[in-house]
């Protein structure tokens, strides 16, 4: 719901004017306006209660002479009473105004008025003539209005759900169809009630309802409010209902994606398992199996990469998202499945196919070969003079980046298997330095190659000192090209994890480089990713895992 109209604190008159203007919210215009203001009104009522609770009723009426008018009007507005916790706060305010020893006719009248309002809110009372018999009936049965309204709301929801579902299947039957205006009204009336669990079946049925109309029939206030409540975990909805919401309402999908990014970037995550969990909870990777949703999320991710200049956290998030998406896609039933190329339509398909292979689907001994194949395809694409616009280049780079797990494996393979080093180094150089306008990438290759050669000489030494490593990279601090710097950090981190002597000096060396350069976040991302990969592969590598955990513990404190 919109939070843009900033309202000064305790702006009593503003809300009194609003309450008068709304009345009992019988026109569409006033209904929409109430829905728009519900969260702010609730905030205001809270503040009002905080003020009132320290006063006696006389002082309260002196300070707010029109408070009776305001509260009374709000109590008769079902949108306000139905919303979230507003009814509770309103009743608290009424309690504050009730005087235990009324001194004069005004106070007596106020007391009596408060009781009428409370009865109006709570009982199926004798004062509302239409329900007089109901009231006698339920009390004869030994029940209260609480029991009655519980059943009444459920019956109403059930009846509306039946009507809508019946309709869905009888589209040819023109007479039986629910009119668009009726549906629109139902959805608008649900806005304040979305977080009431009794309503969930109706909310889901509405979300899944598609009339014949090409225009959206549900009110946008409803769609926005459902999305908001879902993201804030105030309601739980079936997957299909959420997917349907995002498919029919683009702003909600955008908001959900941004909310996910925001949540993951702003909170320190200690493992990618946690990241994966947050994502799956929000259902976004699952929803992305709809190509339309996948495309939108993809665009938003691209923008996030551009805006953050490829920040390592963002890249990691996108990689995990892609992995979860693939996992979900694999688990889906064949007949519902879209072919994977639907999701990457404008790319060189053999490259897509190669990147889509998940590492565990291949024997480890084939990894280096597979990476070489990817590297060669990429090189051919990138160096093709016909398709070298900057936009094309970015698209190719982004495709490679989303499958970043292969890049991490490339570094590991370089060190462990020492195979195909040219091709693998080129692949990494491309990732860290996609452009080669002034020969930057060529320069990066040269620098990385030098460091790599040196590291390989040290790889089997069982005893190492930080000095030895520093000698290997005399210039990490001085390397001018930042692309080279990232690539070298990647190589070094993996060297520490996988070489014979690296474990002994890992902590010291990481302290050293993160102190002298601004790479804590980057190293942290690399380590978290490696831990996630080892954990998932089921590889027996206790020694490395233990080291990773120690390093991460210390590093996450710093970041």
């Amino acid at each position: 719901m919109a939070q843009d109209t900033a309202v000064p604190k305790l702006n009593f008159e503003y809300w009194l004017d609003k309450a008068i203007e709304w009345g009992q919210a019988t026109t569409l215009e006033s209904q929409k306006d109430v829905c728009l203001h519900l969260p702010q009104l609730q905030e205001f009522l809270h503040q009002l209660y905080e003020t009132l609770k320290h006063m006696d009723s006389i002082a309260a009426i002196q300070q707010f002479p029109l408070i009776g008018q305001l509260l009374g009007r709000l109590c008769w507005n079902p949108f306000v009473i139905g919303y979230d916790e507003s009814q509770k706060t309103l009743m608290w305010c009424l309690c504050c105004l009730y005087s235990s020893e009324p001194q004069n006719p005004v106070e007596l009248k106020a007391n009596s008025w408060i009781r009428s309002l409370l009865c109006h809110l709570l009982s199926s009372s004798k004062w509302e003539s239409s329900e007089a018999e109901t009231s006698a009936f339920i009390s004869t049965l030994g029940y209260t209005s609480a029991d009655y309204y519980c059943h009444l709301v459920k019956s109403m929801v059930f009846s509306l759900v039946t009507e809508l579902r019946g309709n869905q299947f009888s589209e040819l039957n023109i007479q039986g169809r629910v009119s668009t205006s009726r549906l629109n009204a139902v959805s608008l009336f649900c806005v304040p009630l979305i977080t009431l669990p009794d309503l969930t079946p109706l909310v889901e049925t509405l979300l899944l309802y598609h009339g014949g109309a090409s225009k959206e029939i549900l009110s946008s206030e409803f769609l926005e409010a459902v999305n908001e409540a879902f993201l804030k975990k105030k309601i739980s909805l079936s997957e299909s209902a959420v997917f349907s919401l995002w498919l029919r309402h683009l702003p909600s999908l955008e908001k959900a994606t941004l909310y996910l990014l925001d949540q993951l970037v702003s909170v320190q995550m200690n493992s990618l398992e946690e990241v994966a969990c947050v994502m799956k909870d929000l259902l976004l990777p699952q929803a992305a199996s709809h190509p339309a949703i996948f495309r939108i999320v993809n665009e938003i991710f691209k923008n996030a990469v551009l805006e953050t200049d490829g920040a390592p956290e963002v890249m990691t998030i996108i990689q995990v998202f892609t992995q979860l998406f693939l996992q979900g896609h694999q688990n889906e039933y064949k007949q519902h499945k879209f072919p994977l190329k639907t999701y990457f339509p404008h790319h060189h398909q053999p490259l897509v196919a190669a990147l889509l292979r998940r590492p565990f689907e291949l024997p480890t001994t084939h990894w280096a070969e597979h990476l070489k194949h990817i590297s060669h395809m990429l090189k051919a694409l990138v160096e093709d003079p016909n398709s070298s616009s900057l936009a094309d280049l970015f698209e190719i780079w982004f495709l490679v980046a989303r499958f970043g797990e292969w890049l991490d494996i490339a570094v590991e393979q370089l060190l462990k298997a020492a195979a195909e080093s040219d091709a693998l180094l080129w692949l990494l150089a491309f990732y860290y330095c996609p452009q080669n306008e002034n020969q930057q990438r060529t320069q990066t290759m040269v620098e990385a190659q030098a460091v790599y050669n040196h590291l390989m000489r040290l790889f089997s030494c069982t005893v190492l000192s930080v000095k030895d490593l520093e000698a290997a990279v005399p210039s990490v601090k001085d390397v001018e090209q930042c692309c080279s710097k990232h690539l070298i950090t990647h190589l070094l981190t993996n060297f520490l994890l996988f070489s014979s002597g690296g474990h002994m000096i890992a902590q010291e060396f990481i302290d050293h480089i993160t102190e002298t350069t601004d790479t804590s976040k980057e190293v942290c991302s690399l380590l978290i990713r490696t831990a996630y990969r080892i954990n998932r592969s089921g590889e027996e590598n206790q020694r490395t895992l233990k080291l990773l955990n120690e390093l991460l513990q210390k590093l996450t404190l710093k970041v």
């Binding site: 009473i81 309204y149 059943h151």
Partner: protein, 363 residues
């Protein structure tokens, strides 16, 4: 235990006082005591809920001294709400006590941090929801209000069924049911009974929607046994008085009656008998060429209405359909077995129905 039983016996009196003008003399201390008693009863309920013999003893004691069994063991669990809301509606309660009441019922950190304040907020929210969702609705089916009342009636019947009643109390429970239904205007009561009979059929093990406290004292294995008996008192009430049954059948739509007849064979025969009676009340008017009412008696159906009811019965289960057709054929035979229109109302009905069914089958 005897002490507890004696306390429980006081509950009806406590509730009766809370609804009377006697609360005029209550101060805030009296009020606190009353609410404490209510919470104590709720506590007893929660403690003995799963112990059949004790709950039976409490239930029996609770019934002692009441003319008809208005309160049973489950009422103990609802006590704070029953008492709180009754007092809130009681205008005789003086200001000091009332202030204490609304503070402990509604305010944060009131006397009891238990579930009460939340549940009253939920009540207000649900009441508002029922206002918001009360949109004009398509005419078919029974109104949600009637459905909700039927749910409550069923829940209460379920609770009654759980209180092991000595044999021979069937007459007492029928009297009780009549008393309850008399609270409603007759037509409304008919709707509620019909809805309850149909809901019972639908919900089976699902337990009638499950209110907050309503019916949650039941546990699975007891359901099936009592479920069977639930319809008993309702059917008995309907069939107890033929005038009532006739009004019931006249008021409710044919489709609904047909599905009741399909579910409850006990209703099928009396319903057909009623329709037979009404059909015999029609006369053929040769000038107009159609069947008309013999006199302008309101309690008789027109030809169109009669035909509608029979066709609803023929759309029901195979059994009901067969029985209906057999009954019509018998009536036709008794009337001389003519195959010409305008002589016997049953011949005409049967012909129209058969034509209708043939058309249905072709579609």
């Amino acid at each position: 235990m005897e002490a507890v039983l004696e306390q429980v016996e006081q509950l009806p009196a406590l509730l009766a006082v809370s609804r009377s003008a006697l609360v005029r003399d209550w101060d805030s201390l009296t009020l606190d005591r009353a609410l404490e008693w209510a919470r104590y009863f709720q506590h007893l309920h929660d403690r003995f809920r799963t112990r059949p013999r004790l709950r039976e003893a409490l239930g029996r004691r609770l019934r002692r001294g009441q003319r008809s069994p208005l309160l049973g063991f489950p009422n103990l669990g609802r006590c704070p709400q029953l008492l709180g809301l009754a007092l809130l509606e009681n205008r005789a309660l003086p200001p000091a006590a009332c202030r204490r009441l609304i503070h402990s019922l509604l305010c944060p950190g009131g006397a009891e941090p238990g579930p009460e304040p939340r549940s009253l907020a939920l009540l207000a929210r649900r009441k508002a929801a029922s206002r918001l969702l009360a949109l004009p609705r398509p005419p078919e089916g029974l109104e949600p209000q009637v459905q909700a009342e039927a749910q409550l009636l069923l829940s209460r019947l379920r609770e009654e069924g759980q209180e092991a009643q000595p044999a021979g109390e069937a007459a007492g429970s029928l009297r009780w049911l009549s008393g309850v239904l008399e609270q409603l205007p007759q037509r409304r009561a008919f709707g509620v009974v019909a809805a309850a009979l149909l809901l019972r059929q639908e919900s089976g093990a699902e337990q009638a929607g499950g209110g907050e406290r309503v019916g949650n004292s039941l546990n699975g294995n007891q359901v099936s046994a009592t479920e069977e008996d639930l319809a008993g008192p309702l059917l008995a009430w309907l069939l107890e008085n033929m005038e009532r049954f006739s009004a019931f059948c006249l008021f409710l739509p044919g489709s609904l009656l047909a599905s009741l007849a399909g579910h409850y064979s006990q209703l099928n025969r009396p319903y057909l008998d009623l329709l037979t009676g009404w059909g015999s009340g029609l006369l053929y008017d040769p000038l107009q060429g159609r069947w008309v009412k013999r006199c302008l008696d309101k309690a008789v159906l027109s030809w169109e209405e009669l035909r509608e009811r029979f066709s609803c019965l023929c759309q029901g289960s195979d059994l009901v359909k067969a029985q209906t057709q057999a009954a019509l054929k018998l009536l036709k035979a008794q009337g001389g077995d003519f195959n010409v229109r305008g002589l016997s109302v049953w011949t005409d009905l049967l012909m129209e129905l058969e034509e209708y069914l043939r058309k249905e089958a072709e579609r």
